[in-house]
C-alpha cells in the first residue's frame, strides 16, 4: 500500500502552490513563509460564494480580527489580524481544515507581506445628511412603543409582505405604485405614544430637520429577512425621513450609483434621520442574512452580530406636491416631467425642427456663414485621413466650410437649409438639399461621413438614432463617420469651451424661462412646446433648450427690440438637444452594423468616430 497520508499531503501542497501563484499574479500579493499579521485565503472569496460574516465567525474562534478584505469577483480574500500571534493561531486552525470553499471544500491559507488597498467600509464618511441619534428612546419607551402597535386593532401577524411584516398608520403606503393616496387617510393614526418624540427631536436637531410626521410604517424583520435597496418616493414624502430601530441592531446599506456603498450600523433604540442627499440620492436597504459584520466595540476590529428580531418605525410626512429636490437621478417627479417633456417633444418634433431649426437657419444663413469660417482642426484631420479618390459625405454641411478641405477626395454636402446651400453653391461645392433623417444616397456607397453640429437639432432620441443609422447605411464596409454634437457640459475637464470664453461679461449661468423674457413675441414662437431659453455663453441647465441667435437687421419672424444705439436687433430661437457625456456613443452602440472607434470631447462638443463593420 502506498502511504496515502503522504500522498494527500503532497496533493494539498500542489494545490496550495497553484493558488499562491494565482494570488501573486492576479492580486500582486507576495506570499511569505514566516508568520505575518496578514493572511490570504487562497481559494475562496466572493466569486466562490464566501461571505465576510462566515469567514469572520470562523476566524474569531481562534484570534482577533481587524478587517476582512474581499474583492469583487475574486476567488481569494484576506484577513487582517490583530497581531502575529492572532494570525498564527488562525492560520494553524484554518489552513487545510476549515471547509469554507465552494461546496464545503477545504481552504488554503498563506501569510502575505501586505494586504492590497481596500478601504474599511466602516471608516467611510456617512452619506451627506445622514444623522444617527443613539439612545433616542429609553428601554421603557421601547417597550411602550412596541405594545402600542401590538394593541392596535389589526393583528400585525396577518400582514405578511414578502420578506417582512408591515403595518401602516396615518396613510397606507401602496407598494404597487410606491406612493400614498393623500385623499385616503387610514382610520388609525400614528399611536399617541409617539407624540413625545417630536418635542425631543426639536431639542436635538435644527428646525428644518424637525417635522411632525403624519405617516408611520412599522416593519418587523426576523433574522434572515431584509428589504431591497430603495429610495423613499420623492413625491410621496418630505425631507427628512426618520427611522427608529427597536429590539435589535441592524446594518443598513446605503448606496449611490455603482461605486458608493456605505454600510451603517443602526443600534437598537437609535433614531436614523435621512435628510438632504442621503434622503434623495442614496438608496437604503437591508441585506437578508442571519448575521452582520460590524465594528467591534473595543479594539477597532470587526465582530459578528447575530441578528434577532428587529422592529423599525419609519416616520414620514406626506409631501402632497411635486418634488423640487436637487437630485434628479432617483427623483420620480423629475423622471415623470422628463417623460412628459419627451412625449410633448415627440408629438411636435417635425414641426419644431421646421420652425426652430430650418426656418431660422434660412433666415440667418448669411450672418451664420460669416461667423463659421474656421474649420475645427480635428474635423479637418479626419477629412484629410481619407485616401485619394475617396467619396465623403458631409451631412448638414452648413456653409460648406469642410467641403474643400481635402483636394484628393470628393466631398458631397447636403443640408436642410436652402439659404446655406446657396452659400455652398456659390463656392462651387457639390451639394444637394435633404433632411438628415432620409439620405437620398445609395446603400454602401461612400467612404466617409461627417455630421458636425447637426444631430443636436433633432427633437427626439428616435430621430437622432435614425440620422446616425442613415449615415451607417450609406457607408461602405470599413467606411468611417465622424459626429460632433453640442455638449451640455461646456466645462469638461475644467477646460472652458471657446463658447464660454466668448462670454466677455462672464455672466453667471442661467437659463431663463420663455415667459419672463422681455421679448414677448418669443412665446408666440414656442407655442409648440414650452422649453427654457438658454442664455448665450453660459453653461446649459437643461438638455432640450432654445438657443437665441441675435441678428442686427430687419425681417419677418423674429423678435425685434430696439437697442440702445437705436438699431434694430432680432432674436431667433434655435432648438437644441445638448448631449450628456456618453450619450452619443450609447446611441451609436445601438446600431449593429457599426463599431465606435473613439469618443472624445472637443470644443464643447461630444464627438464619436465609428466604423462600419
Amino acid at each position: 500500500m502506498i502511504d496515502s497520508g503522504k500522498n494527500k499531503n503532497s496533493k494539498i501542497q500542489r494545490k496550495h502552490k497553484r493558488c499562491q501563484a494565482i494570488l501573486s499574479r492576479d492580486a500582486n500579493v507576495e506570499c511569505v513563509s514566516h508568520p505575518t499579521k496578514f493572511i490570504a485565503i487562497c481559494n475562496a472569496g466572493l466569486s466562490t460564494g464566501l461571505q465576510k460574516e462566515t469567514i469572520l465567525e470562523e476566524a474569531l474562534k481562534y484570534g482577533r480580527v481587524i478587517d476582512i478584505v474581499m474583492l469583487p469577483n475574486k476567488s481569494y480574500c484576506f484577513i487582517n489580524c490583530y497581531n502575529e500571534d492572532d494570525a498564527k493561531n488562525i492560520f494553524d486552525n484554518m489552513h487545510g481544515h476549515a471547509k469554507l470553499g465552494q461546496n464545503e471544500t477545504i481552504i488554503y491559507l498563506s501569510y502575505i507581506k501586505e494586504i492590497p488597498e481596500a478601504p474599511n467600509q466602516y471608516n467611510q464618511d456617512l452619506p451627506e445628511g445622514l444623522i444617527i441619534i443613539n439612545d433616542f428612546v429609553s428601554a421603557d419607551e421601547e417597550r411602550i412603543l412596541l405594545e402600542a402597535i401590538r394593541m392596535s386593532e389589526e393583528p400585525l401577524e396577518n400582514n405578511l409582505l414578502k420578506h417582512r411584516r408591515v403595518k401602516h398608520f396615518g396613510y397606507e403606503f401602496l407598494y404597487g405604485i410606491n406612493n400614498v393616496d393623500p385623499e385616503k387617510p387610514l382610520e388609525e393614526n400614528i399611536p399617541v405614544e409617539c407624540d413625545a418624540l417630536w418635542k425631543r427631536l426639536e431639542d436635538k436637531v435644527p428646525d428644518r430637520l424637525a417635522l411632525v410626521p403624519d405617516q408611520l410604517t412599522v416593519n418587523i424583520y426576523e433574522p434572515g429577512q431584509g428589504i431591497p435597496p430603495h429610495v423613499d418616493t420623492h413625491s410621496a414624502f418630505l425631507d427628512p425621513i426618520y427611522s427608529l430601530s427597536l429590539e435589535s441592531d441592524i446594518v443598513m446599506e446605503f448606496r449611490r450609483s455603482n461605486n458608493n456603498h456605505v454600510p451603517v450600523v443602526l443600534p437598537r433604540r437609535s433614531l436614523l434621520i435621512m435628510s438632504g442627499e442621503s434622503r434623495y440620492a442614496w438608496t437604503h436597504g437591508i441585506t437578508p442574512r442571519h448575521m452582520d459584520v460590524i465594528p467591534s466595540k473595543e479594539g477597532g476590529g470587526l465582530t459578528i452580530h447575530h441578528r434577532t428580531r428587529r422592529t423599525s418605525f419609519t416616520f414620514r410626512k406626506l409631501r402632497r406636491n411635486r418634488c423640487d429636490c436637487a437630485y434628479p437621478e432617483l427623483c420620480d417627479t423629475y423622471a415623470a416631467e422628463q417623460k412628459s417633456n419627451e412625449d410633448k417633444l415627440a408629438s411636435v418634433a417635425a414641426k419644431l425642427e421646421e420652425e426652430n431649426v430650418h426656418k431660422v437657419y434660412d433666415e440667418i444663413a448669411n450672418h451664420f456663414s460669416e461667423t463659421r469660417y474656421k474649420p475645427w482642426p480635428k474635423v479637418e484631420n479626419f477629412i484629410k485621413s481619407f485616401e485619394c479618390g475617396s467619396v465623403v459625405m458631409d451631412v448638414g454641411c452648413g456653409n460648406g466650410k469642410y467641403l474643400s478641405v481635402n483636394p484628393n477626395i470628393i466631398e458631397i454636402g447636403c443640408d436642410r437649409s436652402e439659404g446655406l446651400l446657396q452659400v455652398c453653391s456659390q463656392r462651387k461645392c457639390h451639394v444637394f438639399q435633404c433632411n438628415c433623417l432620409n439620405l437620398p444616397f445609395r446603400d454602401n456607397s461612400v467612404n466617409g461621413c461627417i455630421s458636425i453640429a447637426v444631430i443636436h437639432h433633432l427633437a427626439t432620441e428616435a430621430r437622432r438614432l435614425q440620422a446616425i443609422a442613415e449615415m451607417a447605411r450609406v457607408l461602405v464596409s470599413n467606411g468611417r463617420c465622424l459626429i460632433y454634437v453640442w455638449a451640455k457640459n461646456q466645462e469638461f475637464n475644467c477646460e472652458k469651451s471657446s463658447y464660454l470664453h466668448r462670454n466677455r461679461n462672464n455672466r453667471m449661468q442661467n437659463t431663463k424661462s420663455v415667459s419672463n423674457e422681455n421679448t414677448q413675441s418669443l412665446s408666440s414662437k414656442s407655442e409648440l412646446v414650452d422649453l427654457p431659453v438658454h442664455m448665450n455663453r453660459t453653461q446649459f441647465q437643461e438638455q432640450d433648450v432654445f438657443v437665441p441667435w441675435k441678428l442686427k437687421s430687419s425681417g419677418p419672424k423674429s423678435i425685434e427690440t430696439t437697442t440702445e444705439d437705436g438699431g434694430v436687433k432680432k432674436e431667433f430661437l434655435r432648438y437644441y438637444h445638448v448631449f450628456e457625456e456618453g450619450e452619443l456613443a450609447q446611441l451609436c452602440a445601438r446600431i449593429e452594423s457599426i463599431e465606435v472607434e473613439c469618443a472624445y470631447y472637443d470644443q464643447g462638443n461630444w464627438c464619436v468616430i465609428f466604423r462600419k463593420k
Partner: protein, 124 residues
C-alpha cells in the same frame, strides 16, 4: 449638380420604393466649369461609382463618344478616357432640371444647381 453627385442619388427613402436608382435626369440648363484634371484621382474614384449610370449620364449630355459601355481592365492607362470621364463627372454642372423616381414618378427639382431631395413626412 455635377454628374458625380447624380451617380449617388436615389429615391429609395420614399416609402414603398425598392431601389429608386438610377433617377431619370432631365436637363433644362447646364454649364461647363473647368476644373483641374487629376488622372490618379479619377482612376481611384471610378471603382466607387456605378459605371452603367456614368455611361448613361454621358449619353445624356452628349459626351458618350469614346466612352465604353463597360469599363475595361486597363482604363487607368487610357489618359484620353480618364480626361473624358473627368469632364463628364466633374465639369458639367446641371443648373436647372429635374430628377424623377423610376418607380413612383416623384419629381425632385434642380434649381440654381441644387437638387431638392426633400421628402414630405407622409412620403417616408
Amino acid at each position: 449638380m455635377k454628374l458625380i453627385t447624380y451617380n449617388f442619388l436615389t429615391s429609395k427613402c420614399i416609402r414603398g420604393v425598392k431601389v429608386g436608382y438610377p433617377l431619370k435626369l432631365k436637363i433644362v440648363q447646364k454649364e461647363v466649369v473647368q476644373t483641374d484634371f487629376n488622372p490618379e484621382f479619377i482612376t481611384r474614384l471610378l471603382p466607387r461609382l456605378d459605371y452603367p449610370t456614368v455611361h448613361m449620364a454621358a449619353e445624356l449630355v452628349d459626351c458618350a463618344e469614346g466612352v465604353p459601355k463597360e469599363l475595361g481592365e486597363n482604363y487607368a492607362a487610357d489618359q484620353d478616357l480618364l480626361q473624358k470621364l473627368h469632364h463628364i463627372l466633374l465639369e458639367i454642372d446641371i443648373i436647372e432640371g429635374q430628377l424623377e423616381c423610376p418607380e413612383t414618378g416623384r419629381i425632385f427639382p434642380i434649381t440654381q444647381g441644387i437638387p431638392n431631395m426633400l421628402l414630405n413626412e407622409d412620403e417616408v
